[in-house]
């Protein structure tokens, strides 16, 4: 395996690695990235390309002429318009060169006029961004504006009306406002990356003179790393579960030896570091990441802490699954994955012990392993550094997910009683009072829809992954019908948990290109009700035949009998169902609404 590149890796390694990737991108998923910048951007490309390759992506660049930000954005024939992601990087020094020079003269009227002009430049930029968004289907990723490195006012700058730094804040606020009004214009925090490294190290005035690129080699590595994380988060699913060790991970000390009063967790001393770490974990839980425990301990000792220790932020109800025993950690992780019906490739394992981390890495290479640093003060930073936790969209389902898993636990308890008795099972399904609401994918559904195509592995007929941009363009195409399914029962909401995409292939024939359900709603006959609703809608649109296909993967065994079970007949390559709607669906226990 090739060595991992980081922001510390030397320039020559990036250059060589990037040439190797360009020569042989096998196994990497291509992503077209347009670069629109106010300065020479070519030197940044190898760094960005290497970081993206590390996330499994092959950057195929389309570079607009430098310094022509507006022209490139407004030019209807610009090749950048076909890109999956268009990066727009600019600097206040380039965008507002004249207003900055005017501000430096300090003439009171001139200062006011210069500030107005700078804001007007920003309005031009945001208008161009909005126009570009309307004309394209990809994502526009706009770099936040780094504050100018020098102000002629020096230390007086933040206290003076001609302040450069205040102007930078205002212009960035205008950018924020634009992204809040738009779904496909997002920000990448270039200013944050430069501040993180420090202006002194991030800029290289020699390079600005020689090449027109103002960043130092270190500056480019940090900016590229931030951009790569942002781009990867647009197209790759975030981790779904964080599995945690207990002793010296969630608290200091060993509960089995030190006892509940001997461990460090609370307001003072090193205990406060563990509180901060638990708060960070709860913040990820609020974004939809489930928390689980894999610990070698006595279960009663451990839960005594969760239930009764006043310093704990994490409580028993925050834990979606746990294995507290003396089993190997890899075995505990496997069991937790089975219990939650989630793939181990979406797991992060966190432990302070090098031995335990090594065991999990060896047995379960698909799991992301975080070995905590020596000092608990650095735990939060170590967690935040994991790109697997990055996300660029946050849906209502994400925010509600942890609560939904708690409802699921209650359902499981109810179902287990009925497990081995078909009559009882039927009775149980009826008692769930399931409601399936089917609707066309709407404006507010695009993020969740793309996310479901990317994350659903088990009940997924064709496993075709799609980006938000793909969903946008399919929605605009009248030959496509995109259906979303919302499920709820008496225990609570499952949210949007199913998708079906159909497109018309002939006057009377529609093809089911995608059918998928989140594993949370499997085993309840929901797929039958969903197909009935979709079929009814397509029949109303003139469908007399329905075709589909089944693409087997390692993980989609649960979907294999979906087509034959619903009256589809295999005809060579494809599956065919006619006439419609066909045999009755076994979904009497479900109330169907829509579309």
């Amino acid at each position: 395996m090739t060595e991992v590149v980081t922001v510390e890796t030397s320039a020559a390694v990036f250059q060589r690695r990037w040439r190797e990737i360009e020569a042989n991108p096998t196994g990497l998923r291509p992503i077209a990235i347009a670069m629109v910048a106010s300065y020479t951007i070519e030197p940044l490309l190898p760094y960005l390309g290497c970081f993206l390759a590390q996330r499994g992506l092959h950057a195929k660049y389309i570079v607009a002429p430098f310094g022509q930000v507006y022209q490139s954005l407004l030019d209807a024939s610009s090749p950048t318009r076909t890109a999956d992601v268009t990066l727009v990087l600019s600097r206040i020094e380039d965008l507002c060169a004249r207003p900055l020079a005017e501000l430096a003269k300090l003439d009171p009227d001139g200062v006011q006029a210069a500030r107005v002009e700078a804001h007007s430049e920003m309005s031009w930029l945001t208008a161009a961004l909005t126009a570009y968004e309307a004309a394209t289907t990809g994502t526009l990723l706009v770099g936040t504006l780094p504050r100018p490195r020098f102000s002629p006012l020096g230390v007086l700058d933040p206290s003076h009306p001609a302040s450069y730094s205040q102007l930078a804040h205002e212009l960035n606020l205008a950018l924020f406002a634009t992204t809040r009004k738009s779904r496909r214009i997002r920000l990448a925090d270039v200013d944050g990356a430069i501040s993180y490294l420090g202006h002194e190290r991030a800029w290289d005035p020699r390079m600005a003179l020689i090449s027109g690129n103002p960043l130092s080699s270190a500056g480019m590595r940090h900016v590229a790393d931030r951009l790569a994380r942002t781009i990867a988060a647009l197209v790759l699913p975030a981790a779904k579960v964080i599995v945690l060790d207990l002793d010296n991970t969630l608290w200091g000390g060993i509960v089995g030896e030190d006892g509940p009063t001997g461990i460090a967790i609370g307001a003072t001393g090193v205990g406060a570091a563990f509180v901060a770490f638990q708060d960070a974990l709860l913040a990820y839980r609020a974004q939809g990441v489930l928390l689980a425990i894999a610990s070698k301990n006595n279960e009663a000792d451990a839960f005594e802490i969760f239930d009764n220790h006043s310093g704990m932020r994490l409580k028993r109800e925050h834990i979606a699954a746990h294995r507290i025993s003396w089993a190997q950690k890899s075995e505990s992780l496997r069991e937790i994955a089975a219990e939650l019906s989630l793939g181990l490739d979406s797991f992060i394992f966190v432990d302070d012990s090098p031995t335990e981390c090594a065991e999990v890495m060896r047995v379960l290479p698909e799991v992301t392993v975080l070995q905590l640093p020596q000092d608990p003060a650095n735990y939060v930073a170590a967690l935040a550094a994991l790109p697997q936790l990055d996300r660029m969209s946050l849906t209502d389902e994400d925010r509600m997910r942890a609560a939904a898993y708690n409802a699921e636990k209650a359902r499981t308890a109810a179902r287990e009683a009925a497990e081995h008795d078909p009559a009882l099972l039927k009775e149980h399904l009826k008692s769930l009072e399931l409601i399936c609401a089917v609707r066309r994918v709407g404006d507010g559904d695009v993020a969740r829809t793309a996310q479901l195509t990317q994350k659903t592995n088990q009940f997924n007929l064709t496993t075709i992954r799609r980006t938000e941009a793909d969903i946008e363009s399919m929605r605009r195409d009248p030959a496509w019908r995109l259906y979303a399914l919302d499920v709820r029962d008496r225990f609570g909401e499952y949210g949007t948990t199913g998708l079906a995409f159909a497109h018309r292939v002939a006057e009377d024939t529609w093809h089911l290109d995608t059918v998928l359900l989140s594993c949370r709603v499997l085993g309840r006959g929901v797929e039958s009700a969903f197909l009935r609703a979709v079929t009814t809608d397509l029949v109303a649109a003139g469908a007399k035949k329905l075709t589909s296909q089944m693409i087997p993967t390692k993980k989609n065994a649960p979907v294999r009998d979906f087509l034959p079970r619903h009256g589809f007949v295999e005809t060579g390559e494809a599956w065919l169902k006619e006439p419609l709607p066909g045999a009755p669906f076994e979904d009497e226990h479900i109330t169907l609404q829509g579309p």
Binding site: A11, A12, Q15, P46, R206, M207, I210, N213, S217
Partner: protein
């Protein structure tokens, strides 16, 4: 090739993709395959990283060959 020129040629080969065997003290930016203006910036950054030195704007502009770079690096105390 001297040891230093060889080391620099290794860095340049990484940056511009030319086989190291084709590089020598006479190799020049704009002439040697792959050694274009973008590669030149990468080369400067790589040399600074490798030898922990700083090269000034005028020095960068004065480098017309791999041999020039070797002389410059030597003048900065690298043996």
């Amino acid at each position: 090739m001297t040891g230093l020129v060889e080391r620099l040629a290794g860095l340049l080969a990484d940056v511009c993709g030319a086989p190291i065997a084709t590089l020598n003290a006479e190799s020049a930016p704009g002439v040697t395959a792959g050694w274009d203006s973008v590669a030149n910036l990468g080369f400067i950054a790589a040399v600074e990283d490798e030898f922990n030195i700083t090269i000034s704007t005028n020095e960068v502009l004065a480098i017309k060959s791999l041999g020039d770079m070797a002389k410059l690096v030597t003048a900065k105390g690298v043996k």
